[in-house]
């Protein structure tokens, strides 16, 4: 598979899938990297495989009351409530900045109804600088009693089909881990025409301040992210890779290069780094350097040789 001789040449870290060419398999996870601009002082955005933006909705969204975040053991809970500037303001105010970089821009989006999902996708489809869309299906379907789209395979299939019809750009569907069998939603996404799958979004969780006896997050329940959830994310990525033919992007608790490698080895074509960006705005640069070192040390000339190389 790969020779054991360390090479002086830089290993190839570029990956290609779903019509996307990425310089490296590393990109930020939506909602942890703002609109890119916030990290520009700390990080060379041109080194990233892609830039993934905060999730956008049709109209600007206020988000939830505070406290919105709480630290847990090796993780954090958040209930930001998908606060965002709205798709139109994004296009006019944020895209000009992002277009300066040659890393592809992946725009994350969501809706409260099937129609809203379709409409946001359609508007983004016409924006030249946008390389692909990532569709967050972890949102409550307001027309169906608030059941989260991504927890109901039928609803997921329908909403992805609607989006697919209005989109010519590559479509990445981002799955929620709060399901009994992630393979079922993955298959629904593939069947509905997704070009790729990314996973996982946060796991719902709760934490209580035992002195005040109040939830530590105003919204009571929030999404758990960070290194503590990584084994769950790796397991789900493995299951989905074994199930669908479309490419998979792994997400969940990646802090170091070794963590990213777990996802790549089980078969993810690329990975996203979330909470680690908060802990260290340089995190992705460090991970990238260490990925390269790992390849050199292990005599891997092309990272694609490593992807899916799990020994069962």
């Amino acid at each position: 598979m790969s020779s054991n001789i360390a090479t002086d040449n830089k290993p190839n870290l570029a990956v290609e899938f779903a019509g996307l060419k990425l310089k490296t398999p590393l990109m930020p996870a939506s909602g942890t990297f703002g609109y890119g601009q916030e990290f520009a002082p700390y990080l060379d955005l041109n080194q990233l495989g892609a830039i993934v933006t905060k999730g956008l909705s049709l109209n600007p969204k206020a988000g939830n009351p505070t406290p919105r975040i709480a630290e847990t053991v090796s993780g954090m809970l958040n209930a930001i409530g998908l606060q965002n500037v709205g798709v139109d303001a994004f296009i006019s105010e944020k895209m000009p900045f992002l277009e300066q970089f040659d890393s592809p821009v992946i725009v994350n989006f969501f809706g409260n109804t099937q129609e809203e999902y379709g409409e946001v996708a359609a508007r983004l489809n016409d924006v030249p600088g946008v390389a692909a869309l990532e569709m967050n299906i972890s949102c409550p379907n307001v027309k169906h009693g608030g059941i989260v789209f991504g927890t109901d395979p039928k609803a997921a299939f329908d909403v992805i089909t609607t989006v697919r019809k209005r989109l010519t750009k590559p479509l990445i569907v981002k799955l929620t881990p709060n399901v009994t069998d992630i393979r079922i939603t993955a298959r629904a996404a593939e069947d509905a025409g997704a070009d790729a799958i990314s996973l996982i979004n946060t796991i719902t969780g709760m934490s209580v301040d035992v002195r005040t006896r109040k939830p530590r997050i105003a919204n009571v329940i929030g999404g758990l992210s960070g290194p503590g959830i990584r084994p769950i994310a790796v397991r789900m990525t493995h299951q989905v890779v074994q199930t669908v033919k479309i490419p998979v992007i792994g997400i969940g608790g990646i802090m170091r290069a070794e963590d990213a490698l777990e996802f790549l080895i089980v078969g993810a074509k690329a990975v996203q780094v979330g909470t680690a960006n908060f802990v260290d705005p340089n995190a992705m640069q460090t991970i990238l350097a260490d990925l390269e070192n790992f390849c050199i040390e292990q005599g891997i000339e092309d990272i694609n040789d490593l992807i899916g190389s799990l020994q069962l």
Binding site: T66, I80, Q83, A218
Partner: protein, 283 residues
């Protein structure tokens, strides 16, 4: 604004539960402004996961180790031990490696006029006021009003006085200075200096009381807010407060880490800010 891998120069308990940490911080002296803060990280791989925000108390220079070497820039933090993060911090020693992100946020807006200034601090909230006091044009016209629960909560007042600032202390239990709340003194001072500008940092109930007093009298007020922060750079949206123009249709959320931590009083929706922070205080 960068992530500095650096070391602790000293870390001492200055009053029960309050520590003062000096950190090697090249590059801070020329750029850090009064009211700015840093995100502090204990060594990699140790909990807590997230960094913790701390105001910059002071910036200074130490003599070079030997001729030919540069002087050593440092910053000082003063922190109260309240939870997991500060508990780890207070065990750090000289030479321990840490990471520092900063200087971050918007500091105090300072005009150059030498008029009357009143700084109102509550407990550890006095931290950002020291650099502010130091930077004011006419310190003989600057008054520091500092309140706390008990005498242990009143720290570094003599250092303010060395800057030429007059100080007034209140404690709730009367163990130091006048017994009672600092806002009473603020009213007295504003009666005497009605044109003063007010700068304040401390717990929310105090800030709210200060705001009421200042807005009644049409006195300009800047406040430094605290919030739970994950990133410190405006990315997580965890630290928001509602702006004056905020409504559900037209959300105006301000990031404490980016648009703050210092705000002009008129930028904030005080009703809502207070309500939010009440939740935080009690949670």
């Amino acid at each position: 604004m960068k992530n500095l891998q650096t070391i602790v120069l000293s870390n001492q308990e200055i009053s029960p539960g309050y520590f003062r940490m000096r950190i090697l911080a090249p590059g801070y002296k020329d750029i850090a402004k009064p009211g700015q803060f840093v995100m502090f990280r204990v060594r990699r791989s140790l909990p807590p996961l997230l960094r913790r925000p701390f105001g910059i108390f002071q910036i200074g220079l130490l003599p070079a180790d030997c001729e030919g070497m540069p002087e050593k820039e440092f910053i000082e933090l003063i922190y109260k031990v309240v939870g997991a993060g500060t508990e780890v911090m207070c065990e750090l020693h000289e030479g321990d490696r840490i990471e520092l992100l900063g200087p971050l946020g918007r500091g105090f807006d300072i005009d150059d006029e030498g008029g009357d200034k009143i700084l109102v601090g509550g407990g550890i909230g006095l931290v950002p006021l020291y650099m502010l006091a130091d930077s004011l044009a006419d310190r003989s016209k600057t008054r520091l009003l500092i309140g706390g629960r008990s005498r242990e909560d009143i720290i570094t007042v003599t250092e303010f006085e060395r800057l030429g600032v007059t100080s007034h202390v209140t404690t709730e239990d009367g163990s130091l200075g006048e017994e009672g709340l600092i806002t009473r003194i603020l009213e007295r001072k504003l009666d005497k200096y009605p044109k003063a500008k007010v700068y304040s940092c401390g717990p929310m109930p105090m800030l709210r009381a200060v705001e009421v007093i200042c807005s009644e009298r049409n006195v300009p007020l800047q406040v430094s807010l605290e919030a739970l922060m994950a990133c410190g750079v405006g990315a997580c949206l965890g630290c928001v407060v509602k702006g004056r123009e905020h409504s559900e249709q037209n959300p105006e959320y301000l990031c404490t880490c980016r648009q703050g931590p210092v705000f002009h009083s008129y930028e904030l929706d005080w009703e809502r800010v207070e309500k939010n922070i009440e939740q935080e205080e009690s949670s």
